[in-house]
């Protein structure tokens, strides 16, 4: 798949860097000043192999959808510069007969000089290759950390539900923990690739057992097994903080890449990405806090039942709504809208068998939401659209009635929760302001249109959530907060998927076709030159590899 292909390319780049390091060491150890022609020829052949590896990597990166365009351009530029020195070295070898075992002093002196040039060039290119490798790895870590963070948020949400008494979430918690462990392992592997600590330092290996015991003690599942849900939540929150810290560090590293490898636009994108991530984090914080109050409210009203008269009134409205929905030709609706209508009917079925005030309200909310989603899939002006519009009005009326029978948060969760809701509405309003301000900043130019629209949508959902929190309708606020989160994610995705312009070091090729053309021209030009005696075969092989 794409991911494993990309990982192979990262490994391939590491191999090239290592080959270049070996080549540098060999050239430093054999400065070709003592007439050792065999060594000089060996070094020359080694240089050809390195160029061949680079050429293959250019091809592989060109079709690697997870690699950045500028990375392939950077490898091309490295190849071009090394190849220029290689050509000069080839010209010297050309003057030595293939069968010769010794060469004139003047030729040897020129070989020594070109060896020094190769050393200097390799010293530069190895650093570039090393940066390239590290950058690929940091990029991968960033993606993994983003995924890990999403999983951790989900885990916290499930743990809150478990705390509220919903034991059905336990299998999902176990699955999520498994996924988190898997991602942590991947991150750890990627981080190990970054480390360049030279071995040799003595470590007390027995310490790892104690560290393992500590990790097990702090494991979320271990705490759950001990029945300590609060402890598990606390640990999950602490882990989330650590993940945030890790993500900030990774993003700092990406943003502080050497200046010549990151354009002002790329820096702006990085800043934007970071601010969007923070916005998303903080919105999740608001959502988590709202969820907590919502769960308290649910617990406080879970036992309430509707009066028979009220239950009958709602049932009557439900029957009328069902009739209206069943009259809609769902074949005229899109797939998502059809699925939403099915959801609404399912909730209507559920409504028939319940007298619980909370279950009734939640079903009616779900029906209202499903019809809203279905409306979005109908073509405006067609009969189905107006039918759905009427169904939506019916559902809104039903919702108002269902809500009448249960108190809002302010009446059931106490002063402390009301204060928290007030604080949350202020936080939410602050986030809305930040989302709007972000759209006004110059960095926002980097955001594609779809991303801008998503961010505007997020700000709008945040505004609705602020209102919901002020009115203590936590269920509605939660829905709007979820919507805002989705919109921010869309903005992030649009930013990630938009291809950044190549930066300074990536050479003149700015698109894939241009890059191909640049490479092809260079190869064609190089092929016009005659290879030195004795190297026709290896040079031929090299060009074949290059064009393959």
């Amino acid at each position: 798949d794409r991911e494993s292909e990309h990982n192979q390319n990262i490994a391939g780049l590491q191999e090239i860097r290592d080959a270049a390091v070996d080549h540098l060491a060999h050239r430093m150890a054999a400065p070709v000043t003592h007439g050792d022609l065999a060594t000089a020829r060996g070094l020359f052949a080694e240089g050809a192999s390195l160029l061949s590896l680079l050429a293959t990597m250019i091809d592989r990166l060109s079709v690697d959808t997870l690699a950045k365009e500028r990375d392939a351009a950077a490898v091309t530029a490295i190849h071009r510069r090394l190849h220029a020195v290689y050509r000069d070295e080839a010209a010297i070898h050309e003057r030595i007969p293939a069968a010769a075992e010794a060469a004139e002093a003047a030729i040897l002196a020129r070989l020594a000089t070109i060896n020094q040039r190769q050393i200097s060039q390799l010293e530069d290119e190895i650093i570039r290759l090393d940066d390239l490798v590290d950058h690929q790895i940091v990029d991968r870590i960033e993606q993994l950390v983003a995924r890990l963070q999403a999983s951790q948020h989900k885990l916290l949400e499930l743990l809150e539900r478990l705390k509220a008494g919903d034991t059905s979430v336990q299998p999902a918690i176990e699955q999520l923990q498994q996924r988190i462990r898997e991602d942590l392992r991947r991150i750890s592997e990627a981080r190990a690739q970054l480390k360049k600590e030279v071995d040799g330092e003595f470590l007390n290996l027995d310490a790892f057992e104690a560290l393992q015991a500590r990790m097990e003690h702090e494991d979320v599942m271990e705490r759950l097994r001990q029945g300590n849900v609060d402890g598990a939540i606390e640990r999950a929150k602490a882990l989330l903080d650590e993940i945030r810290e890790l993500r900030d560090t990774v993003q700092d590293r990406l943003a502080s890449a050497p200046a010549e490898r990151m354009s002002p636009q790329e820096r702006a994108r990085m800043r934007l990405l970071r601010e969007l991530s923070r916005l998303q984090d903080e919105e999740r914080g608001v959502q988590s806090a709202t969820q907590s109050i919502y769960q308290e409210w649910r617990a406080s009203v879970a036992e309430r039942e509707l009066e028979e008269r009220d239950a009958e009134a709602i049932a009557k409205e439900a029957r009328a709504l069902r009739k209206r929905i069943e009259g809609i030709n769902d074949a005229r609706l899109g797939r998502d809208a059809r699925s939403a209508l099915e959801d609404a009917l399912e909730q209507l079925d559920r409504l028939e068998g319940t007298r619980g005030a909370l279950a009734t309200r939640e079903s009616v909310e779900a029906i209202h939401d499903a019809i809203r989603r279905a409306s979005a899939g109908a073509r405006s002006g067609e009969r189905e659209a107006s039918q759905l519009e009427r169904a939506r009005a019916d559902a809104a009326r039903m919702l108002a009635h269902a809500r009448e029978h249960l108190p809002n948060a302010e009446e059931s969760v106490g002063d402390a929760a009301i204060e928290r809701l007030q604080g949350l509405s202020e936080r939410q309003a602050g986030l809305q302001g930040r989302a709007k301000a972000l759209l006004e900043e110059s960095d926002a130019e980097q955001l594609p249109d779809a991303g801008k629209a998503a961010l505007r949508g997020a700000a709008s959902s945040m505004e609705k959530s602020t209102t919901g929190l002020q009115e203590r309708v936590t269920s509605g606020a939660l829905r709007d907060e979820g919507e805002a989160l989705q919109q921010i994610q869309r903005a992030i995705d649009s930013l990630r998927s938009s291809s950044p312009p190549p930066s300074g070091a990536s050479g003149p090729a700015s698109t894939e076709s241009e890059r191909d053309r640049t490479l092809r021209d260079e190869v064609m030009e190089a092929m016009r030159e005659r290879p030195p005696d004795g190297f026709s075969e290896s040079v031929q092989h090299y060009y074949e590899e290059l064009l393959r």
Partner: protein, 526 residues
């Protein structure tokens, strides 16, 4: 210290409950146990009537004496008798000590016990692999016993019991600390119930300054006896810090640059940790920085008093505290002026001594009682930049990075050349300890100790407690013929991580006695 307060409360409650016993005998017992005067406590028990209360107290004494199975037997017997009313203070106290007796047995398992030839120190090792520590620990304790005995005027009349655990988590079994407490604070050693309990340096990645730590704990031990357990936290910690290195040096090591900076800033901004804030425990201060400041304050306060009033000054304080005088008043008495005047003089002097440190960018090092292997940390140095990014880019950084890459591929000579190129760039790179360490270790591997030594000296000056650097410096010195210097460097390595096998190979070469050479050879692995 919290535990002491709890214990005092329990004992008070117990006394109320046991009204049929002679009050003076009960008081004597409590006071003697609290002061670790076990013979006096046993004498006080002599007059008590037989029964569950007496059995429970005998169990408590057995625990203080380190006889855990006996303590468990007696306390179980007292609780099982039914004479200690359920929920009563006596029953709670007995249960508390029973849990400790059981926890201690679980933590130690079947311990390996070793005593020094004079019988002054007994060590219980939970894991026999830690017996490697014994000869070095005995030597340090011999020196500490002599030097601190003279300094503080107290020499224990019994064998000091030291227990070496093989997992930090086991501290939770032998103290009322929870696992969360231990992991959060990184507690590594504790002196309680007339014993010193420590975690082996073997179970920390790089070890820790375990010999200074054991002596630090030993100072607490002596002060508890000397003052009959009446010294407040600030006096205990200040003297323990001041004297923890006395076993190996006549003077306390100077405050680190980072500690000086903290102290300077706090003095200027009038933001010192008050002595009251240090109670019940320095470890309970809100941050490591405040804890480090607290240690710097009390260490320099008592150091300053000792400079001006000499050894008698310290003993005057200890005598007065033992006799029930408030510690601040006792210090004022030793100083010869009100406590506020002493604080004013100390603050003025410390401001002068730390002047210039306020601008230092030296980073605060983790306290020695913290676990340096912070498994929870997510800040990976590799993520902060390439391995020599601190050199700030440019040619030095480039050549240093090439040096690392070449080393990783096994090209040591080429790597050394690149490191040399990096050092030639400018004076900053020439002084850089990380670069110096890499190149120094490389030269040692290339069998060029004369080139290695000055480089390792630069690295060691920057991080004298890094055991691997000290070990490398020791080897370089040995190979250039500086045997005394080698001994000193290897002793530094031993003080932090005696489990580095190569250190013992060099110590075997340096040994002057055959038994020492044999021992070191048996531990040597290359």
């Amino acid at each position: 210290m919290i535990l002491q307060a709890a214990l005092a409360l329990l004992l008070t409650l117990a006394r109320d409950a046991g009204a049929d016993e002679p009050a003076a005998a009960v008081d004597n017992f409590e006071e003697s146990v609290s002061a670790w005067d076990l013979p006096a406590a046993r004498r006080a028990l002599g007059g008590a009537p037989a029964g569950a209360r007496r059995t429970a107290r005998e169990g408590i004494l057995a625990l203080y004496e380190g006889s855990y199975p006996e303590a468990e037997r007696l306390l179980t017997q007292a609780l099982a008798s039914g004479s200690l009313a359920e929920g009563s203070a006596e029953a709670i106290e007995a249960q508390h000590y029973l849990a400790l007796a059981r926890g201690s047995q679980r933590a130690l398992g079947r311990p390996l016990i070793q005593s020094n030839p004079g019988g002054e120190v007994t060590i219980a090792f939970a894991d026999p692999r830690d017996a490697l520590l014994a000869p070095y620990l005995f030597d340090a304790m011999d020196a500490a016993r002599a030097r601190l005995g003279a300094e503080l005027g107290v020499i224990p009349d019994h064998a000091v019991r030291i227990e070496i655990l093989d997992d930090p988590a086991k501290l939770a079994l032998v103290t009322p600390l929870t696992l969360d407490n231990i992991y959060a604070t990184g507690t590594i050693g504790i002196t309680k119930y007339r014993r010193i309990v420590m975690v082996s340096p073997r179970v920390l990645l790089y070890g820790y300054p375990w010999l200074d730590t054991v002596v630090h704990e030993y100072v607490h031990y002596l002060l508890t006896i000397r003052t009959r357990n009446r010294a407040p936290v600030w006096l205990q910690e200040g003297l323990a810090k001041l004297f923890e290195a006395r076993w190996r040096s006549d003077t306390a090591p100077p405050l680190s640059a980072a500690d000086q900076r903290l102290l300077q800033r706090a003095l200027v901004q009038d933001d010192l940790v008050t002595l009251a804030e240090m109670s019940p425990s320095v470890a309970m201060l809100p941050s490591q920085e405040r804890a480090a400041l607290a240690y710097a304050e009390v260490e320099t306060m008592l150091g300053y008093l000792r400079e001006r009033r000499g050894e008698p000054g310290i003993n005057l304080i200890l005598d007065a505290v033992r006799d029930g005088v408030d510690a601040e008043d006792a210090l004022a008495g030793a100083w010869g002026a009100p406590f506020a005047e002493f604080m004013g003089a100390w603050a003025a002097e410390m401001k002068r001594r730390t002047a210039g440190a306020g601008k230092s960018d030296a980073k605060l090092k983790e306290r020695r009682f913290r676990d340096a292997d912070d498994a929870g940390s997510t800040v990976d140095p590799a993520l902060l930049g390439d391995v020599f990014s601190h050199l700030g880019g440019g040619a030095a950084s480039q050549h240093a990075r090439l040096g690392v890459l070449l080393t990783l591929r096994g090209h040591r000579k080429a790597a050394a050349e690149q490191y040399e190129k990096a050092r030639r760039v400018d004076a900053v790179s020439r002084r850089d300890p990380k670069l110096a360490r890499r190149l120094g270790e490389l030269y040692l591997e290339l069998d060029e100790p004369a080139k290695a030594l000055p480089l390792l000296e630069i690295a060691a000056a920057d991080d004298p407690e890094q055991p691997n650097i000290a070990a490398a410096e020791g080897r370089a010195r040995l190979r250039v013929g500086d045997r005394e210097g080698a001994r000193s460097a290897l002793a530094r390595a031993l003080r932090v991580n005696p489990f580095i096998p190569s250190v013992h190979c060099d110590l075997a070469t340096l040994a002057e006695r055959e038994d020492e050479a044999t021992r070191e050879r048996s531990l040597c692995r290359e």
